[in-house]
């Protein structure tokens, strides 16, 4: 006796949700406010509040979430009965392409000071970075364009720069780059990812 026909109908996918493009990385003193929703995509609104743009990068920004888990097992069952999160490392990495003292300090732990001496009689203007291993925490925001064409912001309120930094001085092979590794050191629940979805109604 024939039944209903067998069909194969997968759900439709949305290519509009496939997003690519660079992210804009800002850092600031821990606790610095983020711009209002209306201005999240406006670069000058970030810098106006004291956020520093890291500038051009060698190969973009990479966000890595690397949790480690502990399986909870019982003798009577081969599969885990539960999975507990042991650690949850979140890092933002990139290779800074702009060699400024601010960027050098940022990649080398953000613990240094930059003292500025203005030019005067017999005194050339200069800036001196004094390094320190007393690394200072900071806030970080990664701004990208979302599927609506508006700003999407990953905001991590407290990170520390503590990655290995290796910079090659080459004649012509490559520009000098400063690897930056920002590791989240705040409660995971304080990290937010905001997406603007529509313009204000008035």
């Amino acid at each position: 006796m024939p039944g209903a026909p067998l069909v194969y109908t997968p759900p439709a996918y949305n290519t509009g949700n496939v997003i690519y493009g660079t992210g804009i990385l800002f850092t600031a003193t821990t606790g610095t406010s983020v711009p209002s929703d209306q201005n999240l995509g406006l670069g000058s609104s970030w810098t106006g509040l004291g956020w520093a743009y890291v500038g051009s990068l060698l190969d973009g920004v990479t966000v890595t979430f690397a949790p480690t888990v502990q399986n909870i097992v019982i003798e009577e069952q081969p599969t885990p009965v539960g999975v507990a999160v042991s650690t949850a490392d979140l890092t933002v990495t990139c290779n800074l392409s702009e060699e400024t003292l601010a960027n050098v300090n940022l990649s080398w732990g953000n613990g240094g000071t930059i003292a500025v001496t203005s030019p005067g009689a017999g005194q050339p203007g200069k800036s001196v970075l004094t390094l320190s291993t007393n690394f200072q925490s900071m806030s970080v925001a990664l701004v990208g364009k979302n599927t609506y064409g508006f700003a999407g912001v990953l905001y991590i309120p407290t990170v520390i720069s503590a990655g290995q930094v290796q910079t090659a001085y080459r004649r012509a092979a490559q520009q000098r780059v400063y690897p930056l590794t920002l590791s989240a050191i705040c409660p995971f629940s304080s990290i937010t990812w905001s997406e603007l979805t529509a313009i204000a109604t008035s």
Binding site: T30, G31, T32, S33, T117
Partner: protein, 85 residues
Amino acid sequence: MTEAPQDQSGRAAELEAELAKIRAGAVKGARVLMRIAEGSPHSAITFAGVTVGTDPTPVPAHVAPALAEAAATAGVQLIQTDTEA
């Protein structure tokens, strides 16, 4: 109306001072006012994202002690002038 170059420069300095206050205000929490000491050869110091110049600059209270220590290490004379609520 076109302003003279020196007027534009002065206006730029005013705007920079105003911007520094806005930026300092954007950091939550109490602040202290700090500046480069008079007679110092330095005109500014930047530490942990905070820049202090020769005018009293609001500094987040949680940054001030480390800034003072770092400035001393760098040979920059900083003084605290006041505390904001």
